[in-house]
């Protein structure tokens, strides 16, 4: 992308290249500890309120937003890039504060795929 290219996905103007470092919030880490597809939904796990006390502001914000929402929704609502949200959510999962609900992955069986698509079709037809 040329430095003067300030077009977004739909050729809408986007903010010019920025020099802030969003990964500061993750202490420079860009890889999440767990697999977090964009559409995967999260559930807060019952936990002692004292566990929240050690969380950074970014992690706390993500924790507050994530219940019954997807990784993409948390990113949008927290105004954080998807990669940053993944790192923070990955930490929360490892700390046992958040659980990732199932999605179809490369390792899903044919039966699991068919079951999901059939449920989706039923849902869409009556939507």
């Amino acid at each position: 992308m040329a430095p003067d290219d300030t077009r977004g996905p739909d050729d809408e103007p986007v903010a010019p290249a920025r020099f802030v470092r969003p990964y500061t919030i993750t202490a420079g880490r860009t890889k999440a500890a767990v697999d977090l597809p964009m559409e995967a939904t999260l559930r807060i796990q019952p936990h002692d309120a004292s566990a929240d006390a050690d969380l950074g502001a970014g992690a706390q914000r993500v924790l507050d937003l994530c219940d019954q929402r997807s990784v993409a929704e948390v990113s949008a609502l927290a105004s954080m890039p998807i990669g940053v949200v993944r790192v923070l959510l990955g930490d929360l999962v490892q700390q046992g504060l958040v659980r990732v609900q199932a999605t179809i992955t490369e390792s899903s069986s044919q039966d699991e795929r068919i079951e999901l698509i059939e449920r989706t079709l039923r849902g869409l037809r009556s939507y």
């Binding site: 992308m1 430095p3 290219d5 300030t6 977004g8 996905p9 739909d10 050729d11 986007v14 903010a15 290249a17 920025r18 020099f19 470092r21 969003p22 990964y23 420079g28 880490r29 860009t30 890889k31 500890a33 767990v34 697999d35 597809p37 964009m38 559409e39 995967a40 939904t41 997807s70 993409a72 929704e73 990113s75 949008a76 890039p81 998807i82 990669g83 999962v93 609900q101 199932a102 999605t103 179809i104 992955t105 490369e106 899903s108 044919q110 699991e112 795929r113 068919i114 079951e115 999901l116 698509i117 059939e118 449920r119 989706t120 079709l121 039923r122 849902g123 869409l124 037809r125 939507y127």
Partner: protein, 198 residues
Amino acid sequence: MDFAPTSAPRKAASTKIVIAGGFGVGKTTLVGSVSEIVPLRTEALVTNESEGVDDLAAVPTKATTTVAMDFGRLTLAEDLVLYLFGTPGQRRFWFMWDDLCRGAIGAIVMVDTARLDESFSPLDYFESKGLPFIVAVNQFDGTREYDLDEVAAALALPPEVPIIRVDARDRESAKQALVRVTEYALLRLTQSLTVNAN
């Protein structure tokens, strides 16, 4: 990856369909007409070399820019949510499509008959990845109605790929497009089972 999800079979709680196509073809309009929420926007960071987010750590001083994606949400059942992701069409964003398409049911490639060439890139991509896709020609008042066979021929679509008309502003029409791609994905899966069984 060290983390392994629990091995017991788990029913998927969410899934996604990808909406692709060129600028202004109506991706976000379609998402918005069926979504239960006003479409949200998420961003991924890209270096100016489009190396992808993972390379940022290696080049911390490099200027970054963002790629935005609009998405919507449909609660289909108590235990199932469908997300619709509108994706930037240009080839330079392909690195992000891998992420987007992983685990997707399928894709809808939206086509504007005045700018057919803008759909070549998404078509190539989905074909190469084997992701089931349908083509939806966005048709609204004042646009000339092309014969769908002509459009399919101009796009050199494989004969099995469904092609439909859609009015992205119309909830029912958008919903039908989602039904079609889901039906086609199911057909593809069950056909591959038959082939394997033989």
